[in-house]
Symmetry: C2
Subunit: 706 residues, 2 copies
């Protein structure tokens, strides 16, 4: 007969809900029992520190936690998940966490070329496309479509658990879970606890060098017996060896998640991925708040070299990643403790700052990174809050100015496995360009500036809600009617006739708040076409429209959206300086591409596939990008916008060890060419400060149209 358990009453304020619970239940369990929502991200593991509550009266038994400050402890705060009820209680809860952040639009379209990677069974990297025919492996699969970070309803791939362990370790995700039913020891089978686990793992498949940390061993005896010999092992790939990362009671093999993280100079994006299915659960993005210490990497490096600057910048990026992870787990209901791996892509400076590696010499000639490839560490070592034993892998870079984000992009584009000549142009705060194929790869970095990411432009913004992303000027000078263009209602201002209209779309059809990268390309192209600017980018201050006016300083500007229709009630304009900035950016990109091709004795026009990547938003008008001379004038069918290829590459490397291995190979064999050491670059740059180019023979199709 069971002894009756003592029960206590727990009252939650301000909700006023009351519940009677057994002695030694946690406050979190009490809250859950009565439907009081607490900010628990980790599901009660004590690792997120979010479920803080105030014990207003009564007694709890609680464990110490790093998440409580001394003054909070004195005031009576506890973590609800670690506080056991040992008397009647009154508990004050806090408002639940906000899940809103700047909702930056993240597209990362993995082109068919990337579909070569498998994760043990299924082909990955083409979440939206059906698997390729077996045997063929690569080539032209179906075109992948852009994604907005939601789980799509495509047929589920075969579960990872059906894939043999050896194949999983060779081709599967960075971490994989394996449920083990261990035979209990007997006098005839006296293998040690640890070897018993190893033996059972080995029965599932051949594992190369196997290791584990002492932390997993110390209390293994009680753990295994308490779990009745049924445990789930998380195996992770780490520095050429396989690590027994984590042991959990029972069968948790269905819940294994990872994060793909893109740390850009201007934007940070985190994607939550189900490692069993390879599917994306959600994506969140934020501006990189380091920007207050400088827009570009150079000013951040200078700040980091100052006293405690490095710690400050490191703290900012880690906090941002943790915040985005919070939103993701809150929305999806995934337990923080079920996230066991992070793959991070970023430029070399960002990765130095993330890991608190001194970046000082990145900016001093001869521009040397401390490390382009860093060891796999525990995410907790970097301060990233997932399972405390989860792994963090930073994708390897090539040089101080071609980082892991570019290796990721090359993998995502598939160009490193292509027999044909490909070019990748990744437009971020810097613009990196890669040229090559399965035989060779060269890269360079052009200081394009962050204008396509929304910085340095008066009305610039990231591709988040309300960003003007497509622009067309209709009328007077004559232009084609836009096809599937569903423009934002942009009523005619007083005096503007139907013969001259500016129509545009915004991200998420929000009220206009600014202009994102794709909008800027359209703006320049349309300005040129209708005569707002000439081929040198000079604005025609006498352009016959009320939209053209002068600022108080005398600088000409063009009104894209009138104040009453915008989110903030102010006109959204493009100024002469904005145009000049965009021209410099596109000129740097094009000049970089030209120099890179010439170094190899080739021309840009020889490329068979041209990939353009970056945070432009969901769309980029390829035709217009060519017309302004940002992209070489080649057959448009050869040009493909692949969105955030750094994020896509990180995700591929997270779910497919084949893709991860490819990233290391790419970083290893890619040659870096320093543009500042090339005496033709400046000349090329100057020549490209024209629309499309001073040498019109480089843009025959544009000349023909004009």
């Amino acid at each position: 007969m069971d002894k009756p358990a003592t029960h206590y009453s727990v009252l939650f304020v301000p909700s006023g809900k009351r519940v009677s619970v057994e002695k030694n239940r946690t406050v979190l369990e009490a809250a859950e029992a009565v439907g009081v929502e607490l900010n628990s991200l980790c599901g009660g593991d004590g690792i997120c520190g979010k479920c803080k509550v105030l014990i207003k009266s009564g007694c709890v038994e609680s464990e110490p936690s790093q998440f409580l400050k001394p003054e909070e402890i004195r005031a009576g705060y506890v973590l609800a998940c670690k506080a056991r009820v040992v008397g009647d209680l009154e508990v004050e809860t806090q408002p639940t966490v906000e899940s809103g952040d700047e909702q930056i639009l993240v597209s990362d379209t993995v082109p068919p070329g990337a579909a070569m990677f498998t994760r043990g069974g299924d082909v990955v990297g083409i979440e939206m496309a059906p698997p390729l025919e077996p045997g063929e492996g690569g080539g032209e699969g179906r075109q992948a479509s852009p994604r907005s970070g939601k789980v799509t309803a495509t047929p589920p791939p075969s579960p990872l658990s059906a894939v043999p362990l050896a194949a999983r370790l060779q081709k599967g995700p960075l971490t994989t879970k394996l449920f083990l039913k261990l035979p209990p020891p007997t006098l005839e089978d006296t293998l040690s606890d640890l070897d018993r686990i190893y033996r059972e793992i080995a029965r599932s498949g051949d594992v190369p060098i196997m290791q584990t940390g002492l932390a997993n061993i110390k209390n293994l005896a009680g753990f295994l017996r308490g779990a009745d010999w049924q445990v789930t092992a998380t195996l992770g790939k780490r520095g050429g060896t396989v690590e027994l990362v984590l042991l959990e009671k029972g069968d948790t093999s269905r819940s294994n998640y990872g994060l793909a993280v893109d740390i850009g100079t201007t934007t940070i994006v985190v994607q939550l991925v189900d490692l069993n299915s390879g599917k994306t659960v959600g994506t969140k993005a934020s501006t990189n708040k380091q920007a207050k210490y400088g827009d570009d990497v150079i000013s951040r490096i200078i700040f980091a070299s100052e006293r405690s600057g490095l710690d400050t910048l490191r703290g900012i990026v880690v906090d941002t990643v943790n915040r985005l992870v919070s939103y993701l787990v809150t929305e999806s209901g995934v337990r923080l403790g079920d996230i066991t791996a992070v793959v991070c892509a970023g430029n070399t400076t960002m990765l130095h700052l993330l890991l608190a590696i001194d970046p000082t010499f990145l900016r001093k000639e001869p521009y040397i990174a401390v490390a382009n490839s860093v060891p796999v560490i525990r995410a907790a070592e970097a301060g990233i809050r997932i399972n405390p034993r989860g792994l963090l892998l930073c994708l390897p870079g090539v040089s101080s100015y071609v980082g892991g984000d570019i290796s990721a992009g090359v993998v995502a584009s598939g160009m490193s496995r292509s027999p044909e000549l490909c070019m990748l142009m990744d437009v971020g705060t810097n613009g990196e360009i890669v040229l090559g194929n399965q035989e060779w790869l060269v890269s360079c970095s052009a200081s394009a500036g962050p204008c396509f990411e929304g910085s340095g432009i008066s009305a610039g913004m990231r591709a988040s809600t309300g960003a003007i992303q497509q622009v067309q000027i209709v009328g007077s000078v004559g232009g084609s009617v836009m096809g599937d263009f569903d423009p934002h209602p942009n009523p005619l201002p007083e005096g503007e006739g139907a013969s001259f209209r500016v129509v545009f779309t915004t991200v998420h059809a929000g009220k206009p708040r600014g202009i994102c990268g794709s909008g800027m390309i359209d703006v320049i192209s349309e300005f040129l076409r209708v005569g707002v600017i000439d081929r040198a980018g000079r604005m025609d201050a006498d352009f016959p429209s009320k939209r053209m006016r002068r600022q108080e300083s005398g600088e000409p500007e063009f009104v894209l959206a009138w104040g009453p229709e915008t989110e903030y009630g102010k006109d959204i304009t493009v100024t002469q300086s904005d145009v000049a900035n965009i021209l410099r950016a596109k000129a740097a990109l094009f000049a970089g591409a030209r120099v890179l091709a010439r170094k190899m004795g080739l021309t840009c026009e020889a490329v068979h596939k041209f990939y353009i990547a970056g945070g432009f938003g969901n769309y980029i008008d390829i035709e217009k990008a060519v017309r302004i001379g940002m992209i070489p004038d080649i057959d448009r069918a050869k040009i493909r916008f692949i969105g955030n290829s750094s994020l896509a590459g990180a995700r591929l490397a997270l779910v497919s060890s084949e893709a991860l291995d490819e990233a290391y190979k790419v970083a290893d064999r890619m040659t870096y060419i320093e543009l500042s050491a090339d005496n033709t670059f400046h000349e090329e740059f100057t020549a490209a400060l024209f629309l499309p180019h001073t040498d019109s023979t480089l843009f025959p199709s544009v000349s023909k149209q004009a």
Copy 2:
């Protein structure tokens, strides 16, 4: 022209010495300049915490240190090595550290069979013997002689630096230092700092999987430039990979040391080894102070299973090892920071306690270890104070009762590579027996009790100064005159005639303090020979000598040494219980050996080499060990005493990766036989409780002599 530096006056009390030093010199440097001796073990790295001084007046600039308690900081204590002089000072120093501990005699004779191991160039394990002929590799080298832990004056082996890196990693010590002159980066050679180091290492030889910790990377940029690109890399073998353990400025490759540690239930021994020469610098031993929580492993496991018991026992063993290391570095002048590796051998329980691994289930049927092989960790993780990045490797064991100490012993004996049948009997607190050859190995553990280590015997002690180690009874009953026996002056007591004398030698010729293991074997053998005891071990209370008497309890005892001549002024006696204890111990050992042989369808008499190991002291009289029936009655030339084979094996594994690999192979292929599950063991044990044995046909040579 140099700017003149400001100087300050530093007065040391109580010495009264005064010195003028430049601003920002450390107090330690000031002390060294004027010859004031401080307790610095680490040579100024701030990692030993020994150079604590009190600033009585004046100001220093000091770094925080874990070695100073808050109250000490308030009182004005600083670490002399981390306190910079910024004004006139009065400094109070402390008495220098005592280097005395119980000076336990440690012999570890590696027999010629072990000479198969090389460390890249030289043959190791036979420090006292010349290298073998190349090509032959093994076989019968010259007999190694016992050592007392001092560096001997044998010709130095070729320096490790002359050995190619690949060979060093394959066959050399656990850690090896490599001086690197890195070419500074240029615009043409923009390799990252870390890859620059890897490249230079790779130029020295092919290194397999290479990894390093983030700690080495974070400040690498400033470090390399501050070192003018000339650094010494310490490479360590770790879990199948090679780790860049440590980087130091300049060329420190001549100073690389390791520790071989034997953690026994009763005794802990630490040996300091020069990893470049393979030579032993010094050896220190101490009793295992865990003994106050129980003499045997079972009582320690019970204590460890209690609240905080595990932490207590862990703390004791770690403190003891650290204390012994302190003595070694103080005596030798080796810097603590130059010790980069530890290889530890011990029984399974001791290794669980060292690493704070829960040992509870070692003593519960079916007697399961948590791990017989644990990963290589940093010594600092276990609390062992050497270079903070130095490695700790614990040799792998076979089962809960045949640990890494036995794997070490098998390696040291060379039996695992012998074509002929060998037996190893390791007499410690338990007695472990191994039988086998290069084809197979079986082992068992017999609860012999710690009497040969000096516990459980009324006058028992370890083989330290004053321990009676050889005993002969001369006269009356008749006995041969001892040959090279230089007995301790043991004057005749009143009334004892020249016709009956007890002569003995003591360790270090000290005044008698007790009896060690080898002395006990002699005592029993001599008692039997002259009739003090009969073949059942019963004392003849009427034996015609004043030395034979009864205790107050009525128990007979025999006086070995008279009070006035002993260290403590008390008679040293052997009681009836002592004899019975020794009989039980030798019976357990012999019975274990018999059962093990019979399990394999063999007899003990079939062994070609019989190795006896243990802390008996420098000597063990093989003939007498056979006569009391502890060792099988085989050709004496086949029997060899090899001292502390656990320590010897640990040292071999430390200096030779070949030996280390062999230890893993031995642990892997050795089969464990549980004696308690064998129904013949008890019978064998009972039969062996006789001198030499109830079955006299087993000891034909003894019967013949008698």
